[in-house]
């Protein structure tokens, strides 16, 4: 029995080291390391309330100070009234604070955070340096396509955005 365990351990180690040595090949098989992913949003109140009007952006995409500002200005939310009752506002504000970029172990979230000056609290993810650098090859006309609408519509091209997966290999830009 003990021999079997040792053998299977040895086998699994050798398989995984083989996979690591040939990571290029395996990356294309769809496996994405956890560190490259953002946490899929599961908080129902946030999905229901914020997700009613737009893609439910992962809180890791902005620093806590941005979310705080956002939640304090819901009456004028990019020109729209997105106000909520006090209790829901407080609950969502807490969620955003505790799941913000500063709290994230994701490399991508840290890159977003580092691209924002400490004295700035952007409200638009699309205005951060990191976002702009990552999308600099996208012609502005692409965002105007009917099925996309704006650069804020992550999931229009990042087909797995709701799963926190923004890897290039899952990008499919709609033609219209």
């Amino acid at each position: 029995m003990r021999l079997a365990i040792i053998l299977s351990l040895f086998l699994s180690i050798s398989i995984s080291s083989y996979a690591l040595a040939d990571s290029g090949k395996y990356e294309r098989k769809g496996y994405v390391p956890q560190s490259k992913l953002l946490k899929p949003v599961k908080y129902k109140l946030y999905l229901d309330e914020c997700g009613a009007c737009h893609f439910a952006f992962q809180p890791e995409l902005l620093p806590a100070r941005s979310w705080q500002k956002m939640m304090n200005t819901l009456e004028d939310h990019f020109g729209d009234d997105a106000s909520l009752d006090e209790e829901s506002t407080a609950q969502i504000a807490a969620f955003l604070k505790w799941e913000s970029a500063e709290q994230s172990s994701s490399k991508r979230a840290q890159k977003f955070l580092r691209s924002i000056r400490p004295n700035e609290s952007p409200l638009r993810i699309t205005e951060t340096r990191y976002f702009k650098d990552k999308h600099d090859e996208v012609d502005p006309s692409v965002y105007k396509r009917k099925s996309i609408g704006s650069p804020a519509n992550c999931i229009a091209c990042h087909t797995t955005a709701d799963k926190g997966n923004y890897q290039d290999e899952f990008v499919k830009v709609p033609r219209r």
Partner: protein, 142 residues
């Protein structure tokens, strides 16, 4: 005996028809009665909500900074039984007519939230009690 049973059935479902012949649950009915009271206070000549006025509110176009023009139909389409689409983000909006969406007009919290937001979005101010009641009556008749 039959009457008692009927009363129980109505109570069990929790639905009460109001003066407008539209059926809502108890919570929403109380909300509409309260709107009526407010409308009377604000205008003594008020004689009840009107679906016709509600239709006007729903279709009336207002100038909008980003979209050029906006009305309720910009997002909800001109048929409240159809799926709509957020005019800015493209996100799908479920039909708001009770016949097409069983959740429509079942929660006062939800109703108040959207009336406040959408009057502000289209008319740049909150709706009066009369306007809110008129809108509810127009949409809920479908």
């Amino acid at each position: 005996m039959k009457i008692i049973t009927a009363v129980f059935v109505v109570l069990a479902i929790g639905c009460f028809s109001n003066a407008y012949g539209v059926t809502f649950n108890q919570e929403v009915n109380a909300y509409i009665q309260n709107l009526e009271k407010q409308a009377k206070q604000q205008d003594p000549s008020f004689k009840g909500f009107s679906a016709e006025r509600g239709k006007q509110i729903f279709f009336d176009q207002q100038p909008h900074q980003k979209l050029g023009k906006i009305s309720c139909t910009s997002c909800h389409t001109d048929d409240v039984r159809k799926q709509g689409k957020n005019a800015k983000t493209g996100k799908v909006i479920e039909p708001i007519a009770p016949s097409a969406n069983p959740k429509a007009f079942t929660s006062v919290k939800n109703l108040e939230k959207w009336l406040k937001r959408n009057f502000n979005d289209v008319y740049g101010r909150e709706g009066t009690a009369k306007e809110k009641g008129d809108s509810i009556l127009y949409i809920s008749q479908y």
